[in-house]
Symmetry: C2
Subunit: 348 residues, 2 copies
C-alpha cells in the first residue's frame, strides 16, 4: 500500500511515461496540444503513481498561490462563520482556498496574522479590523502588494475598500422606533465600546435620543450574563428606572432577555427591549424580540466579490491593495418588528 511514500514528482511521471517533463506539464495544465497517444500514456503514469502537482513549485515559478486570507475576531461567532461560509464558497468557485486566522480583536494578534499570511503569499485578504482607527494596521495593509477588502469595519483613511453595514442608521432607526412607542427613558447597553460597529451604533442611538430631546443613558459594563443581570437589577431599582432597553449586540440581547425573564420582569410592559442583530429563536421566544437585522450574507458576498474582481483583473500576481477609487460599500439594515418593543404580534 502507498502509505508512507512521499509524493511522486512530475519528472518521475515523465520518466515512467517515457516523455519529457514539458509534455507532462502540458497534459496537467491542458493548455497546449498533445498527441492523444502521448497524452494517454502520461495520464496512465499519473494515475499509476497517484501524482498530484506540488503547488509550492508552481508558486515559486511566479504563479499565485490561489489562497486568500480571512482575518476575523472569531470563527465561532455566527456572524463571521456565516461570512466565512459564503467567502469560502465563492473562493472555491474561483478555485481559491481560504485560510482563516482569528484575532480575538487583538491588534497584535491581528498584525501577526497578516504577516503569517503574507509569508504564505496569499493572493488577497478579507479582514475585519480589530481597530478601525489603527494607524499601524493601515500602514501594514497599504504596503501589501495584494488586494484587500475590509469587512464589517472599515480601515481608517478609506484607502482600503470596505463592506460594512450602516450601523448608524440601524441604531438610529431602532431608537426612533422606541421613541415613537412613547418610551422616554431608553437605556443603551453597549458591549465592547472600542469596536467600530458599536461606536457607530452608539452614535445612531445618541443622535435619535438627542433629536427627540431625551437623555441618552449609556451602560457599557455588560460583558456576560452575570453582569447583565447585575446591571438590569441596578437599573430597574434605581429611582428613575428605564422604560426601554436597546442592546447593541447579539450576545448582550440574549443575556438581557434571559436576565429580564429570570427576574420576572414583564416585556414590554415594564421595559421594552430592542436588540441589534437578529438571532435564532428571536421570533419564537415570548415575547418575540424586535431586532435590527444585518445583511450578513450580503456583506460576505459583496466583500468576496470586491476581492475577486481585483484578484481576477490583475492577471499576474500584481494588483494593489489600493485603487484609485476604493469602494466603500455600505449596506442597509432592517428593523424586524416583533413584540418586545410594544408592537402587537400581528399587524402594525
Amino acid at each position: 500500500m502507498t502509505k508512507k511514500s512521499k509524493h511522486p514528482t512530475l519528472s518521475e511521471v515523465a520518466k515512467k511515461a517515457g516523455v519529457g517533463t514539458t509534455t507532462v506539464s502540458r497534459v496537467i495544465n491542458g493548455v497546449e496540444r498533445v498527441e492523444p497517444k502521448t497524452m494517454a500514456r502520461v495520464q496512465q503514469a499519473i494515475q499509476a503513481l497517484g501524482y498530484m502537482p506540488n503547488q509550492a513549485a508552481r508558486v515559486l515559478k511566479g504563479h499565485r498561490t490561489r489562497t486568500i486570507g480571512f482575518v476575523i475576531p472569531s470563527i465561532a461567532d455566527p456572524f463571521f462563520s456565516n461570512c466565512a461560509e459564503v467567502l469560502q464558497a465563492i473562493a472555491r468557485s474561483n478555485d481559491f482556498l481560504v485560510i482563516v486566522l482569528t484575532t480575538q480583536n487583538d491588534s497584535a494578534t491581528e498584525r501577526d496574522a497578516v504577516n503569517i499570511l503574507t509569508q504564505h503569499r496569499v493572493d488577497g485578504f478579507v479582514i475585519a479590523p480589530a481597530d478601525s482607527e489603527s494607524e499601524a494596521l493601515r500602514s501594514l495593509l497599504l504596503r501589501l502588494p495584494v488586494p484587500i477588502v475590509a469587512l464589517d469595519r472599515p480601515v481608517a483613511g478609506a484607502l482600503v475598500p470596505s463592506v460594512v453595514a450602516n450601523n448608524f442608521d440601524g441604531a438610529q432607526h431602532a431608537t426612533r422606533h422606541l421613541i415613537k412607542h412613547g418610551y422616554k427613558r431608553i437605556v443603551c447597553l453597549t458591549g465592547e465600546i472600542n469596536l467600530y460597529t458599536i461606536r457607530e451604533r452608539v452614535r445612531g442611538y445618541c443622535d435619535a435620543i438627542e433629536s427627540a430631546g431625551l437623555e441618552p443613558i449609556l451602560e457599557t459594563s455588560i460583558h456576560d450574563y452575570e453582569s447583565a443581570e447585575h446591571v438590569i437589577k441596578k437599573l430597574l431599582h434605581s429611582p428613575n428606572p428605564p422604560d426601554a432597553i436597546f442592546t447593541l449586540k447579539n450576545r448582550t440581547t440574549i443575556d438581557t432577555f434571559e436576565a429580564l425573564q429570570k427576574l420576572g420582569i414583564s416585556i414590554p410592559k415594564t421595559v421594552a427591549l430592542v436588540g441589534y442583530d437578529d438571532f435564532q429563536l428571536a421570533g419564537t421566544v415570548r415575547p418575540a424580540i424586535t431586532v435590527v437585522q444585518q445583511p450578513i450574507y450580503e456583506l460576505g458576498h459583496v466583500a468576496a466579490q470586491l476581492l475577486f474582481e481585483r484578484l481576477l483583473s490583475s492577471p499576474a500576481s500584481g494588483g494593489s491593495g489600493v485603487t484609485s477609487s476604493p469602494q466603500q460599500v455600505q449596506l442597509k439594515t432592517r428593523l424586524i418588528r416583533r413584540s418586545s418593543c410594544g408592537c402587537s404580534p400581528k399587524g402594525a
Copy 2:
C-alpha cells in the same frame, strides 16, 4: 510608498547587507551563530526592504507547509464553527495554519477538497466524512502520506483515528428518559438519515424503544420548517397520535418547537419534546427544552491534539495516516433535563 512592489527576496536582502545568502538565511532562522555586527546589518536590511520569507520556497526545499486541512460539511453550522475555532487556536499555537473546505456532505465535493489540499501539501487533515462507509473515501485517505483525524464521524475500517461522540448512548439515554416519564408513543424525527451520527442516534432510539416493548415510530421527511409543521400536524391528527417527540438534530428540534408553538400545542402536556444537540436559548424558551448535549469543544480539542501528536512526532514530513493502533476516541454526551420532557423546572 511600497505599494505595488513585489516581495523582496532573500538574495536582495543579502546584497543590500553586503553578505551571502547563507548568512541571511541564518539570521532569519536564528539557528547558527552569526557575528552580532553582521546580524545587525542583516536585520536592518530586512527591515528596510520589508522582507518576508517566501514559504513556497521553503516548502520546495522539503520542509512542511505548516498548514492543515479542515474538511467539514459547513462552516456556518455552529457545531463545526466551534470545532474550527479550537482547531485554529491549537494549530496556531503550534505555528500551523488551517485551511477550511466545505463539502455540504457531498462525497464528490469532499474528494475534490481532499485532492486540492493534497496539492497544497497540507501536513495533516481533520475531516468529518460525508459518508462514513465510503470505500472510495477510505482508500483515498489511506494513501495520503500525512496524518488524518476523523471528527464527529469515523471512517469505515477504523484505520483512521477518530474522535466522535457516543451518539448511540446519547439517543438511548434520552429515549429511556422519555420512557421513564411514561410516554408510550414516542416518535423520532430524524433529519438526514444517511449520516453516520443520525444513524447511530436512530439505533440508540430503537434499542431503547424495543427494550421497553414499545413500537418505534420513525419519521424521516423533515428538512425545514415547512415540512416540520406539516409532519407535526399529520402526526397529531392521526388516530393514534404520539405523546412524545424525539428530534435528532439541532435544526429539527427548533423547527419542531416553533411548529408546536405556532399550532398552539402544549408541551409537554400534549406532547413532550426532547432534542439532540443543545442550542442557544434552549433553556430560556418556554418550556425550556430538554436536550442531549454534545461535548463540542472537547471533540475539536481532542481531534486537534491527536493530529498534532502525530504531526509533531514525525520530525521530517513523513508521518502516516495509519498508525499501528489508531485511536478511536468516543466522548460522552450529557442529557440536560429541562421542562419539555415533563421534568419540573426546578428539581428532579
